[in-house]
């Protein structure tokens, strides 16, 4: 201890001149001390350096900072010093500090009030404040650091025997030898042994060494060889805090880092930053609430925001919100009386859901303004408007603000389209049951018909008088009747079941010459027929048709030839020259289509195989083409090259009939699915126009053959529809199709209406055969 202390002292003294310079201003600021007061400065310095040394710090280059940090401690430092001085100077009763470690020297209480300085006169006679010594309360755990009051170190006290003092205290002041009591005192002492008196003298202080009870007990225990502290058991029972198993390695052997013991420089920096910011006003403390309230009440600042307005082009994608419609008359509080709802209207309005109402209000009349109540829905309506503004998708809809009639095509007026049939001129009655087929003869004077009663009848066209009749079969119906188109004969063909009959009816217009010519045409082929059959039919194979005479009874009536084919014939269609005709029997599978040659009494089956069921077949009016309609398609064959030319696809589900325009380039198709289709054969295989004006199936379609631009269809809904269908000569133009007339008159029987129709060869007249057993002539 001794050498250490001296060393310290030397150092202090060395540092004296310059440290004064360095440190003084700092302390000046803090304590307003003058330079004269060197002592206290010095003391402080010393303490500081002690502290540094003890904590192992090396240099004092950042002394100023630490000085400022420590400056708080200075007053208490002074106290401590004073106390120490007291200890040295005065009273006996104070016990020595060194004796028991851990017992702090008691600090005497200050009696000079709250002043911690005294006023003195300095050399110049000015007032000088002298502060008390500062006690650097040094709280260290290090018990070794207990300072010895005497700093002479470990030398024999006898060295000081010749001096009045016995050593130096830490401040370098002499520790005076306590006055040794005189004899009386010694006597008194001996008599009145104070408590804890030992009779020894403390070698360091020279005071009599007193021991209190605890210390005496301690000494006694040491002497007895006992454990010095009775409360302390050196060998306590082991308490296993964690586990009995010993860890091989400690959790962390790292020594505690130094930073744990140092105040953080980083934090200090941050704090300084904040302090500086606050000083400069960069960080503002929160405003008092009143100020804020005031601010809120401040008016919003308005200015001319459109000062430098530049009109912008309207974005074409932007759709401005539509304005609400202005109020009408019925919204008035006092509307004209006709706007007020009647009772029924009111009830109806009230019955409806609010969403379904056309208008959200009911017109109401108040006879004076003061009676008008508030409108309850106004907030809701506004809200809905708001919702519309932001949530409703906006679409620009081009409203056609035109007269709807301008959309309609400019149709020629019906009077321009005339002539066409309009009324039922004649009704032909006589058939028993349905009339299945009707045809007008090529000269246009007679009408032939065939019906369910198995008869074929010929009528006078204009008068409706029956002129000829023959019963072909008692069981089966006459499916179809057709005239041979050539005018040089008067030959009628009719199909009953599997038989096709060719006959020459008697008629007023038929001259004997014509009759004879017709009979000749029919009988001319008999020679060929036998040959042809022998040629055509392979032995063992059934011939496609048998040509025969029907028997004397029928021959008397005028029926001359019977052709029997394999299955029921539904359709007969003649070639325009009158030598060939085609029959179609839909149930006939392979042999459903047959072409018969009248002059040779020959029957051929042109198709070995047909895709689909044949419905009807027809010759092209001009070219050697042959059309066969199956259920879905119409196939066109070239008869010369014997090949398929094209397949027309009307798109109908089930074709009932078709007809070819006399020009040969257009085609109309009727279908059981209520459609009438116009095909332009040059244009496409798909329909050019689709007409759906019937509510039931279309049974028959026909072009007018006599040069009038008319066509008609017959339907199961009991009507015929007459169309104006003009095919222009120019190939580039499209045909114009105009519906002109609906002919109503036939009654619908068992869901069957008009079964067949035919045009007059020259006039705009037509006949129709109905399921009601009548035939009507329309003109």
């Amino acid at each position: 201890m001794g050498p250490k202390a001296t060393e310290k002292k030397r150092k202090v003294q060395d540092a004296e001149p310059e440290s004064d310079d360095e440190i003084a201003p700092d302390f000046d600021g803090a304590l307003s001390q003058s330079e004269d007061e060197f002592d206290s400065d010095f003391d402080d310095n010393e303490h500081e350096q002690d502290g540094e040394q003890e904590s192992g710090s090396e240099a004092s280059d950042d002394e100023d900072e630490e000085g400022s940090l420590l400056s708080d401690d200075i007053p208490s430092d002074a106290e401590g010093d004073k106390a120490m001085g007291k200890l040295v100077l005065e009273d006996e009763e104070e016990e020595l500090e060194i004796e028991i470690p851990g017992v702090d020297p008691k600090r005497p209480e200050k009696d000079d009030g709250d002043k911690n300085y005294r006023i003195e006169k300095d050399a110049n006679g000015n007032e000088r404040y002298v502060y008390d010594e500062i006690d650097p309360v040094y709280d260290s755990d290090d018990s070794d650091a207990q300072e010895a009051p005497n700093t002479i170190g470990n030398i024999p006290m006898s060295f000081y025997d010749s001096y009045p003092h016995i050593g130096y205290d830490i401040n370098g002041k002499k520790i005076m030898r306590p006055a040794t009591g005189d004899a009386l005192d010694a006597l008194l002492d001996s008599i009145e042994v104070p408590k804890g008196w030992t009779g020894l003298t403390d070698i360091h202080t020279g005071n009599p060494l007193n021991l209190n009870d605890d210390e005496l007990e301690l000494v006694r225990r040491v002497q007895m060889g006992m454990i010095p502290n009775e409360l302390e058991n050196p060998y306590p029972e082991t308490v296993e805090y964690f586990t009995g198993i010993e860890e091989k390695m400690p959790l962390s052997a790292a020594p505690e880092p130094k930073r744990r013991f140092l105040p953080s420089k980083n934090e200090a920096k941050k704090i300084m930053k904040l302090v500086r910011a606050i000083r400069e006003g960069r960080i503002l403390p929160y405003k008092p609430p009143e100020e804020r309230e005031k601010e809120e009440e401040e008016e919003e600042q308005y200015f001319d925001i459109w000062q430098d307005e530049v009109p912008q082009e309207v974005n074409p994608l932007h759709i401005p919100a539509p304005k609400l419609p202005p109020p009408g008359f019925d919204m008035s509080y006092n509307p004209p009386a006709e706007y007020l709802p009647t009772k029924e209207e009111r009830e109806e309005w009230e019955k409806l859901d609010p969403e379904e109402r056309e208008k959200e209000y009911l017109p109401q009349k108040y006879d004076s303004l003061r009676k008008v109540p508030g409108y309850g829905e106004i907030v809701k309506e506004r809200f809905e408007r708001c919702m519309d503004l932001y949530l409703a998708p906006r679409v620009r809809k081009n409203r056609l603000n035109i007269d709807p009639n301008s959309l309609l095509p400019k149709l020629p007026s019906p009077s321009e389209l005339k002539p066409f049939p309009t009324v039922a001129q004649t009704v032909f009655r006589g058939h028993d049951g349905r009339v299945r087929s009707v045809a007008i003869d090529p000269t246009g004077v007679a009408v032939a018909s065939g019906g369910d009663d198995g008869t074929v009848r010929v009528w006078e066209l204009l008068t409706g008088r029956q002129v000829w009749s023959v019963k072909l079969s008692s069981e089966e119906a006459v499916n179809t009747v057709r005239w041979r188109p050539a005018k040089d004969s008067f030959i009628l063909s009719a199909a009953v079941g599997e038989d096709v009959y060719l006959m020459v009816p008697t008629h007023a217009s038929v001259t004997p010459a014509l009759d004879q010519a017709s009979r000749d045409i029919l009988s001319a082929g008999f020679g060929y027929a036998t040959n042809g059959q022998q040629h055509g039919a392979a032995p063992g194979k059934e011939p496609p048709a048998k040509w025969a005479r029907p028997g004397a009874k029928l021959e008397d009536e005028g029926v001359l030839i019977r052709i029997t084919v394999r299955s029921t014939v539904k359709v007969i269609n003649w070639h325009r020259k009158g030598d060939h005709f085609a029959t179609v029997s839909p149930s006939g599978q392979r042999s459903s289509v047959a072409i018969h040659t009248l002059s040779k009494h020959l029957t051929q089956i042109p198709f070995r195989k047909l895709s689909g069921l044949a419905q009807t077949a027809s010759f092209h009016p001009l070219r050697p083409l042959f059309f066969v309609a199956t259920q879905r398609t119409i196939r066109c064959y070239d008869l010369q090259k014997l090949e398929l030319v094209k397949v027309v696809q009307p798109g109908a589900k089930w074709i009932s009939s078709f007809d070819i325009h006399p020009g040969g380039d257009n085609l109309i198709v009727g279908s059981y699915d209520k459609r009438l289709l116009w095909h332009d054969l040059d244009l496409s295989i798909r329909p050019y126009k689709t007409m759906r004006f019937h509510s039931e199936a279309v049974r028959q379609v026909k072009y007018h053959r006599g040069g009038l631009p008319l066509f008609a269809d017959a339907s199961d809904d009991g009507t015929l529809q007459i169309f104006h269908g003009k095919v222009p000569n120019d190939q580039l133009e499209n045909p114009t199709i105009v519906p002109v007339k609906v002919l109503k008159g036939h009654k619908v029987v068992n869901k069957l209406g008009v079964l067949d129709m035919d045009w007059h060869p020259r006039e705009p007249w037509c006949v129709s055969a109905g399921a009601d057993g009548t035939i009507r002539l329309w003109m």
Binding site: Y286, P289, E296, E300, Y302, D304, I305, W306, E309, V310, P311, Q312, L317, I319, P320, A321, K323, L324, P326, P327, G328, F329, M331, S332, Y333, N334, P335, P336, A337, Y339, Q364, D367, S368, L369, R370, V372, G374, Y375, G376, I378, K380, E381, R382, F383, C386, L389, Y390, L391, A392, P393, R394, P404, L407, L408, L411, P414, F693, I737, V738, K744
Partner: protein
């Protein structure tokens, strides 16, 4: 080989974005997104083909343009919303910690437009963006004004703070002041929903609705957050519009606002307008409330004031309203903005329609009158409309609030008294109106001041809409008022117009029908021989059967007509049968020659109609399916309209007949 195009990489799929995607892209909450859309005027679009647009299996309902959303990405408000979100997070965290004071502090510093009526952010830039020019803003002012006037009349609730209401009210009053000073109010209409006003500002027609002053019932599912967002935007908009309007006529904005007067219910009177420079100040003051200062009916002062007003008026009529700077230099050479009158110099030229504002100024309609509003009349709209049309002196009962020219009903300067109470028939003694002590002066129930015109409030509106002073007799107290017609309906040809006589607008068929009915009725009263009529009936029946045979597909209206016809016939038959049963001689109509002619006419008309219908049917058959649909739609609306008109005409005919019978 061409590049393979992937699905959903181009075209409609890229151009549209669903709402969920948009919200995700903007990293906002849905309410914030809603706010942003409202403010920025972004609205959903309807894609042509929804299937091509939506990538998900479920059908999305709302699509936005991707470009619109990209445009929102650069919005500065977005950052504000995010800040707000951060703040809310802080508050909730503080509350979670139980640190209430901290949370309160955060909240105090939050931007809370809902609570304070004033946001921390401004929408100025949005206004400028959405309305690049002032006229754009005016074009969009309809909804803005309707909304703000509604909110100015709402009760304050937690959803609608009182401050917001006060601000709305103030902005609205300021706007009304502009309309008064600039005389730009054009029309007004008393509807059952409220009062519609139409103003014309810088060539833009603005129409808005002000509800009647009643406590508004707030029904059902009204989300005030959405409304509040709109109001916030509209408040800013109207503020800027007001500023611009005020400065355009040389007034200072905002005008001075007297809190005390406002609390006493002065409304319009609480504001005092100031000119930007001193020269205009006097004038504008006179316009607004200069007259109202003097309370007593001092005839001398009145005369002086009248003189001044006259002078002012002359000045005004000479100088243009907006050109107030050069008020002192009133030369006759001064160019004006007003339209010059074109007088034909030589006869024979066509007459071109010209706006008549230069000749008789409707803005000075009530300039020479002093009005007194009796206490049952609605003061606010009356005051506004009267002032807007030039009236300078309006007095009213003190219960109606402050700011009146006079509260004294007996003031001799009053020329018109607007009254809306029934005429009390009996009780001539004065005791009867003992409870009527709210008025300053006690007046007998039927007592009238002589020399004064008493009218009902509707008179003011009808005068304004027709731009002329209507005859006050029609509008006298207790009189049955003439119907109040909407001035916004523009007469379209063929549409029903209640102002025209019935004869001028009914169709030929209707006229004949009506005449026939009249004749039949007339005949039913005086009996005559039977056979004649029977014959006619039979003939008609035959005809009908034929019709039935011939036509199946007929127009609906035609059928209606036929039904009517049939009805009348069955009625007749019924009458005949009844008469027979009772053994009386059949009382029936003598069909005079006139009726016969009419009948024939009708037949001819019907035939014509039938033919036309047939033609139409044929023509329609030739249209393509698409065009036919379009045609049918158009016809549908047209028919509906004409059916409505027909109904109205029928009603009116009936009413007129009833009236004639009574008379």
């Amino acid at each position: 080989m061409p590049k393979i195009k992937k699905k959903g990489q181009a075209g409609a799929a890229k151009n549209y974005i669903t709402r969920t995607q948009a919200v995700k892209k903007l990293q906002l909450s849905l309410p914030d997104f809603r706010k942003l859309c409202i403010w920025k005027g972004i609205y959903p679009r309807e894609p042509r083909n929804k299937k091509k647009v939506s990538k998900s299996a479920t059908a999305s309902t709302t699509f936005y343009y991707t470009k619109d959303i990209q445009y929102l990405l650069h919005e500065p408000l977005l950052q504000k919303f995010r800040d707000q979100k951060v703040l809310e997070k802080k508050i909730s965290r503080a509350l979670g910690r139980g640190d209430v004071s901290d949370a309160a502090r955060f909240e105090r510093h939050a931007a809370r437009p809902e609570a304070t009526g004033k946001p921390r952010y401004t929408l100025n830039h949005v206004i400028r963006e959405r309305y690049p020019t002032f006229n754009d803003a005016l074009r969009d002012l309809d909804d803005c004004l309707s909304m703000l006037f509604l909110f100015a009349n709402l009760p304050s609730t937690s959803a609608v703070p009182a401050k917001m209401i006060a601000r709305c009210e103030r902005l609205c009053l300021e706007f009304q002041h502009y309309l008064i000073v600039s005389h730009s109010l054009r029309k007004s209409f008393l509807s059952i929903k409220g009062i519609y006003y139409q103003a014309n500002i810088q060539g833009e027609d603005i129409l808005w609705l002000v509800p009647y002053k009643f406590n508004q019932r707030i029904v059902g599912d009204v989300d005030f957050r959405i409304m509040g967002t709109f109001v916030e935007f509209y408040m800013t908009l109207l503020g800027f519009v007001n500023y611009r309007l005020y400065s355009s006529i040389g007034l200072k904005y905002p005008p001075k606002f007297d809190q005390l007067k406002d609390e006493n219910g002065a409304e319009l009177g609480a504001f005092s307008l100031e000119g930007v420079n001193m020269a205009t100040q006097g004038e504008t003051k006179a316009v607004t409330n200069g007259e109202e200062q003097q309370q007593g009916p001092d005839p001398k002062v009145q005369a002086e004031v009248d003189k001044i007003i006259k002078q002012l008026k002359e000045d005004e009529s000479k100088s243009d309203e907006t050109a107030e700077e050069d008020a002192e230099a009133d030369d006759e050479e001064k160019p004006t903005d007003s339209i010059d009158k074109f007088e034909p110099v030589a006869p024979g030229g066509d007459v071109l329609p010209q706006p008549a504002y230069s000749s008789s100024d409707p803005s000075q309609l009530f300039a020479n009158f002093t009005f007194y509003l009796s206490r049952e009349t609605p003061r606010q709209p009356l005051e506004f409309i009267l002032r807007a049309f030039g009236c300078k002196r309006i007095g009213w009962d003190s219960v109606l609030g402050e700011g009146a020219f006079t509260n004294d009903e007996s003031d001799p300067s009053i020329t018109h008294h607007i009254i809306d109470r029934p005429v009390v028939q009996a009780a001539t003694n004065e005791d009867g109106d003992g409870e009527d002590n709210q008025t300053a002066q006690k007046v007998g129930p039927n007592q009238r001041y002589p020399g004064r015109i008493y009218v009902q409030p509707q008179w003011v509106w009808d005068c304004v809409n027709d731009e002329e002073l209507k005859s006050p007799e029609l509008y006298a107290p207790g009189a049955a008022l003439p119907p109040h017609l909407s001035p916004f309906v523009k007469a379209a040809p063929g549409q029903y117009d209640p102002t025209l006589p019935l004869e001028a607008q009914q169709t030929e068929a209707e006229a004949i029908e009506a005449d026939l009915e009249d004749a039949e009725k007339g005949n039913a009263e005086d009996g005559s021989d039977v056979e004649n009529d029977m014959d006619v009936d039979e003939a008609e029946d035959d005809e009908e059967e034929e019709e039935g045979d011939e036509e199946d597909a007929e127009e609906a209206e035609e059928e209606d007509a036929e039904e009517d016809e049939e009805e009348s016939k069955t009625l007749q038959r019924q009458l005949e049968l009844e008469a027979e049963l009772q053994g009386k001689k059949v009382q029936n109509t003598k069909v005079d020659s006139k009726t016969k002619a009419k009948l024939e006419q009708r037949k001819a008309l019907e035939k014509k109609a039938r033919e036309e219908a047939e033609d139409l049917e044929r023509a329609k058959g030739m249209l393509s399916k698409k065009k036919r649909k379009l045609f049918e739609q158009m016809q549908y609306t047209n028919n509906k309209k004409s059916a409505q008109d027909e109904k109205l005409r029928a009603k009116r005919r009936k009413l007129e007949k009833e009236k004639a019978q009574k008379a």
